[in-house]
C-alpha cells in the first residue's frame, strides 16, 4: 500500500514541485502514472523511493521512506529514466546489487537478459543506449521487490524490446506486488495498467482502477480519460 496525505516537495522551498499529493494505492496492481511534462512524476517516484525527502505524511508498505530503514530499502526498487552508468559488466553490477535485496532472483535476471538479448560480457558504458536501458531494467526487475517504480521505462526501446518488456512485467505482476510506471507512451503500456493515476501541478486528479474509470467516464481508453480529466481542470 502506498499512502500520502498532503505530500509536498520542492528542490528549493519557494518553488514546490509536488503540492498536496494525496495517494491511496492498494497493492497488487500496476499503476500508470500519467501527467503532462513537468508536473513532477519523476520527483514523486524519487520521493516515494526515499531518494528525495518530502514533507507531509506518506508511506510505502507501511514504512516512511524518509527513515530509509533497511527493510524499506529492500522492498523498493526505482528505475530512474536516466541511470548513472558504471564502467563494469551487468554481471559485475549484479554481484554488488544481489546482496542488497533478499528477494533477488537470478532466474529473473538471466531470463530478462536473455529475452532482451543484452550483451552480457560487455561493459555497460560500451553498450548502446537501448541495450543499457534493457540491462538496467533486467537488473531492477531481478531485485524482485514488492514495490517497483519505473520512470519512462520504454523510452529508447525498439518495438520488439517493448513487447519483451511487457511480457516480463506481466509475468511479475501478482497480488503482493505494486508496480508504478510513469509514462508518456500510453500506447506502449496501456495493457499493463489496471490502475491509472493522473497528476497535475497541484495534486492528483484521478487515481482509480480502469474498471471504475470505465463506469465513471464511459470509456477505459486511457488517452481519452486523460484528455477528459486534464481538460476539466483547465
Amino acid at each position: 500500500m502506498i499512502k500520502a496525505t498532503n505530500l509536498n516537495y520542492g528542490y528549493i522551498k519557494v518553488q514546490p514541485v509536488l503540492k498536496k499529493i494525496c495517494l491511496d494505492m492498494p497493492e497488487g496492481h500496476i499503476y500508470g502514472l500519467l501527467g503532462r511534462n513537468g508536473v513532477g512524476k519523476s520527483t514523486l517516484l524519487k520521493v516515494l523511493s526515499g531518494a528525495l525527502l518530502g514533507e507531509g505524511e506518506y508511506s510505502v508498505g507501511g514504512r516512511d521512506p524518509r527513515n530509509r530503514e533497511c527493510e524499506f530499502q529492500q522492498s523498493v526498487r526505482l528505475v530512474p529514466e536516466n541511470e548513472a552508468l558504471h564502467n563494469i559488466t551487468i554481471e559485475e553490477l549484479a554481484n554488488v546489487t544481489r546482496p542488497l535485496y533478499p528477494t533477488f532472483s537470478d532466474e529473473i535476471l538471466l531470463r530478462a537478459l536473455a529475452d532482451f538479448k543484452v550483451p552480457v560480457g560487455q561493459k555497460i558504458t560500451n553498450m548502446s543506449l537501448g541495450q543499457q536501458k534493457k540491462a538496467l531494467i533486467s537488473l531492477s526487475l531481478a531485485c524482485n521487490t514488492p514495490y517497483i517504480f519505473m520512470d519512462e521505462p520504454t523510452n529508447g526501446m525498439d518495438i520488439p524490446s517493448k513487447s519483451i518488456f511487457r511480457k516480463l512485467v506481466a509475468s511479475m505482476a501478482d497480488e503482493n506486488r505494486t508496480i508504478v510506471i510513469s509514462t508518456h507512451q500510453v500506447d506502449d503500456l496501456e495493457g499493463l495498467m489496471d490502475y491509472v493515476t493522473i497528476m497535475e501541478n497541484d495534486g492528483i486528479l484521478l487515481s482509480d482502477s480502469l474498471e471504475n474509470i470505465g463506469e465513471q467516464y464511459g470509456t477505459e481508453d486511457i488517452k481519452e480519460v486523460f484528455c477528459q480529466v486534464v481538460k476539466n481542470i483547465e
Partner: protein
C-alpha cells in the same frame, strides 16, 4: 463535432480474442484454457485484466472452473458465442457497412462479387 472512441476496453478485446479461438475450433468443449498468468504474458497485459475477462466468460457460462485445476470450455460455449457474434454482425457491423456503402453509392450487388472472392480467399 464529437468523436467517439471505438476502442473496446482491453478486457473485452481479450474476450473477443478467446471467443475467436473457440469459433475457429482451437478450443473445444472441456479443453482447459491457458492460466491467467500464461494469457497475461502471451497477450502482454495485466493478469488482473485477464481476470476480468475470465469472470465475464464464467458469468456467461462459456467456461466453467474446476477448483484448483483451472478453467474449461463448456459444451454450449460455441453456441453462446455464435449467437452473440451473429447478433453483433446483424445489429452493428452490417448497418455500419450499409451506411458506408450508401455514402459511396454502392449497391449490394456491387460488393457481392468482391465479397465472394474475399471469402473464397480466406478458405
Amino acid at each position: 463535432m464529437e468523436f467517439q472512441t471505438n476502442a473496446q476496453p482491453i478486457f473485452m478485446q481479450i474476450y473477443d480474442l478467446l471467443c475467436d479461438r473457440v469459433l475457429r475450433g482451437e478450443i473445444k468443449p472441456d479443453d482447459q484454457l491457458p492460466s491467467v498468468r500464461e494469457l497475461a504474458v502471451e497477450l502482454e497485459v495485466n493478469p488482473n485484466t485477464v481476470m476480468r475477462t475470465i469472470e465475464r466468460l464464467l458469468q456467461q457460462e462459456i467456461i466453467y472452473s474446476k477448483r484448483g485445476k483451472g478453467n474449461f470450455l463448456t459444451d454450449k460455449a460455441y453456441d453462446i458465442i455464435l449467437d452473440v457474434r451473429v447478433r453483433r454482425l446483424m445489429e452493428q457491423k452490417l448497418p455500419a457497412l450499409a451506411e458506408e456503402l450508401q455514402l459511396l453509392h454502392f449497391s449490394p450487388t456491387d460488393v457481392k462479387k468482391r465479397l465472394e472472392e474475399l471469402m473464397v480467399e480466406k478458405k
